[in-house]
């Protein structure tokens, strides 16, 4: 029998790699960018992280619409810092995605061509300044519920990004809630604005956790891979249970007649989410889908000459220490 060359003999087989990967997942060890990973794991992560990054960037728009009109300089500064944080989260997440062999420019292209999605919540309009507070409280709150478990994601760069993102999101949530407390202590018109914003954002916030478990085909595999830690319905229930006392403290009514404490379950029961609306908005039928993507596209395309100039300058001054400072 002919001897196998050492290089071939030592190279692990596909089966061995898979077994090793599975063992590390089972032992709750982190997978890092240079580690072998199944193609499905990689592509699922790219999709999820890119979608998350896109959501941060598109998510700058609905609140950013109130930047020029924020009714006090303190609120203007808070909102500006928050929108800036979102740009930072987007950058951070694109960088995490890049560790998986994709690049930011390509992901941005996919976003503006509608080939990759972002969180559907941002396809709803922001109608009053109270929306800024309610987005902080409910939308950032739901995002935190979704993201806190991701700090334990099996993919190292994503998990580490989530630790930082969650800290800042929790800051934003507190700021949003504080704005609402202030408004509820203000004039009747302000209280009306807050209730109206809660009425409009409550159900879309519940949709942020994604379709019910029975209709979420990817959940099982993602949980097996440690990319996801809780099911959509578990997270949604957690969000409802946490939000109810916050609403009471705030003095607003959550727009769900079926919302009630169920002592037997130890959870709140709540009404049926309108999944037809969810599907309609996800597939482009929301009030702002076209506007959100077209604004992102415009910024990207109108900025092309700037990026080209920066690249040309860097190329001209390569090695002089002038061109590589970014």
């Amino acid at each position: 029998m002919a001897m196998e060359p050492a290089a071939v003999r030592d190279r692990p087989t596909g089966q061995e790699l898979t077994a090793d990967f599975d063992a590390r997942i089972a032992a709750h060890q982190r997978i890092e960018p240079r580690d072998w990973m199944p193609e499905g794991y990689r592509s699922t992560l790219v999709r999820q992280i890119a979608q998350h990054a896109h959501s941060e960037i598109i998510g700058m728009q609905p609140e950013g619409d109130w930047l020029t009109r924020a009714p006090s300089l303190r609120r203007k500064a808070i909102l500006l810092a928050k929108v800036q944080d979102e740009a930072g989260h987007g950058l951070y997440l694109y960088a995490a995605a890049e560790t998986l062999g994709v690049d930011r420019a390509d992901l941005t292209q996919r976003l503006i061509e509608g080939r990759q999605k972002y969180s559907s919540i941002f396809n709803y309009p922001t109608l009053t300044f109270a929306d800024v507070g309610v987005i902080g409280w409910l939308v950032d709150g739901a995002a935190i519920c979704n993201q806190v478990p991701l700090c334990r994601s099996s993919f190292g760069p994503y998990a580490r990004a989530m630790v930082r993102v969650c800290k800042e999101e929790s800051f934003h949530q507190r700021q949003g809630y504080e704005l609402l407390l202030q408004m509820m202590a203000g004039t009747p018109a302000q209280r009306t604005m807050v209730q109206d914003a809660v009425d409009r954002w409550w159900w879309p916030s519940l949709m942020m956790f994604g379709p019910p478990d029975a209709d979420s085909p990817n959940t099982r595999q993602s949980m097996a891979w440690g990319i996801k830690r809780d099911t959509n319905d578990e997270l949604r229930q957690k969000f409802v249970d946490m939000s109810v006392p916050q609403a009471v403290a705030l003095g607003v009514t959550l727009p769900d007649p079926d919302l009630a404490w169920n002592a037997e379950r130890g959870h709140h029961d709540f009404g049926a989410v309108d999944w037809a609306e969810f599907k309609r908005v996800v597939s482009g039928g929301g009030q702002c889908n076209a506007e959100r993507v077209s604004r992102r596209r415009a910024a990207h395309e109108e900025g092309a000459w700037v990026r080209e100039a920066a690249a040309a300058y860097a190329a001209k001054h390569q090695g002089t220490g002038q061109g590589d400072d970014r």
Binding site: A77, I78, Q84, C145, Q182, T187, S243, E302, G303, V306
Partner: protein, 294 residues
């Protein structure tokens, strides 16, 4: 976040320590902590209050124009940088406008100045208010304004009013960064592609005619400068001109000839219609709810 399983913990509870974690809320050291806020003796209070408004309005109006870049910047890094610069300027404006209300004895707060004055009462230089153009315009305007403001603030660090001096000392560090950012982009765009160069030239054509006013001395500035309570902008003209020219040369751009210094316009409350339009939007919510607190 102490409890990662319940990020909502303590959100609405009477949490004594919650304030420590809030940006712009309680628990942060005030920007002017430890600064003597007594009014300087022998300085005309109305003059000083107006001077604070002038410097405050420059910052507020420039910040509002930068804010209009939000979600429209050419790259995410620039999105963050422009927001950063706007935040710095907003911070300077807040301190200066609040000081104006202390000095003039009216007790008006920063928001009363920002939201309840009409365009005619704004004292910013007109260069700060002209509408945004392309990114080249933003860079050129920022280069000129930050170089000018840095020259003023550096000299204000030992001015008679201790609050103004403290704002200037803190602001100088911020402005040095703003200027640096503008310089880097001036180099890239001036010496980048033919298109970027053309755009920079066009931006200079737009911005340059408005630079004369930066060095026009308003009577308030003249009187205060005599008492060591302000900087006469005429005195920073040579330095600012030299800094900007050096950058333009390095960026292979042509340095336009200096423009004549006109009578003060924006400093005298005379503005283009664009400022009124900008303020109309900025003040709309605050004015629609005069009884509200935010």
């Amino acid at each position: 976040m102490t409890n990662t399983d319940n990020p909502y913990g303590g959100l609405a509870e009477d949490d004594a320590h919650a304030g420590d974690q809030w940006a712009f809320g309680t628990g942060f050291t005030a920007a002017l902590a430890g600064v003597d806020t007594a009014l300087p003796v022998g300085i005309d209070q109305d003059d000083l209050a107006l001077y604070c408004q002038m410097l405050g309005d420059d910052a507020l109006v420039a910040a509002q124009r930068l804010i209009q870049w939000s979600t429209a910047a050419p790259e995410l890094e620039e999105e963050m940088a422009l927001a950063n610069i706007a935040l710095d300027l907003l911070g300077q404006a807040r301190l200066l406008l609040a000081r104006a209300g202390q000095v003039d004895g009216s007790g008006r707060d920063e928001d009363a100045f920002a939201y309840l004055r009409d365009a005619r009462e704004f004292r910013n230089v007109c260069l700060a208010e002209t509408p945004n153009g392309d990114f080249a315009h933003a860079v050129v305007r920022l280069l000129v304004l930050s170089a000018w403001r840095l020259a003023l603030f550096t000299r204000l660090a030992d001015t008679a009013d201790p609050v103004l001096a403290a704002v200037a000392a803190k602001g100088s560090k911020e402005l040095a960064y703003h200027r640096e950012y503008a310089v880097r982009w001036t180099l890239r765009l001036g010496d980048g592609t033919p298109e970027s160069r053309d755009r920079m030239t066009a931006a200079l054509d737009q911005v340059w005619p408005l630079t004369g006013e930066l060095f026009a001395t308003h009577p308030v500035e003249a009187r205060l400068a005599d008492q060591g309570a302000a900087v006469d902008p005429a005195g920073v003209r040579a330095e600012v001109g030299e800094v900007v020219a050096r950058v333009l040369v390095a960026a292979t751009l042509e340095v336009p000839p200096a423009v004549p210094v006109p009578e003060p316009t924006g400093r005298a409350g005379l503005h283009g219609p664009e400022l009124a339009a900008m303020l109309h939007e900025m003040q709309s919510v605050a004015r629609a709810h005069p009884e509200a607190t935010w």
